[in-house]
Symmetry: C2
Subunit: 79 residues, 2 copies
């Protein structure tokens, strides 16, 4: 069976506190990297799906499981 | 001060067990999504850096902090 690859990006929405991103920002400063003004951390999820899976199915996967749409936004690209 | 945005992707290397990805794969199956053949989960880190930061500095950030190069690969794009 052939397959298609989809890459989903999940990020915290603007305004939602991102402690992981903040930790990275502090750590970069502590390592001597100057000028780091902001860091946001999110997830990438690479899916191998059956060929022909429609984008609406991927949207459903995002809405039901991959992203918490109250605090996270998502987007995906078919590779 | 103007700034530049860099997006870093960190994924587990092929062959390294990815329990988070496996958990997502099982959960998608349990939700009734068929044909999910593989899932890999990684990180996206969006950096706001001082304008003119060179790519070699970003590489250094990745090597020293953002990726564990023993088990993870990374790539980045300047936005």
């Amino acid at each position: 069976m052939t397959e298609m690859k989809v890459r989903v990006f999940v990020m915290l929405k603007t305004g939602v506190l991102d402690p992981q991103g903040e930790a990275v920002r502090h750590a970069l400063g502590a390592l001597g990297f100057d000028g780091v003004q902001g860091v946001r951390q999110g997830k990438v999820i690479e899916l191998e799906l059956a060929d022909g899976t429609s984008e609406s199915v991927v949207t459903e996967m995002c809405e039901k499981l991959l992203a918490n749409t109250v605090i996270e936004s998502y987007r995906f690209e078919v590779l």
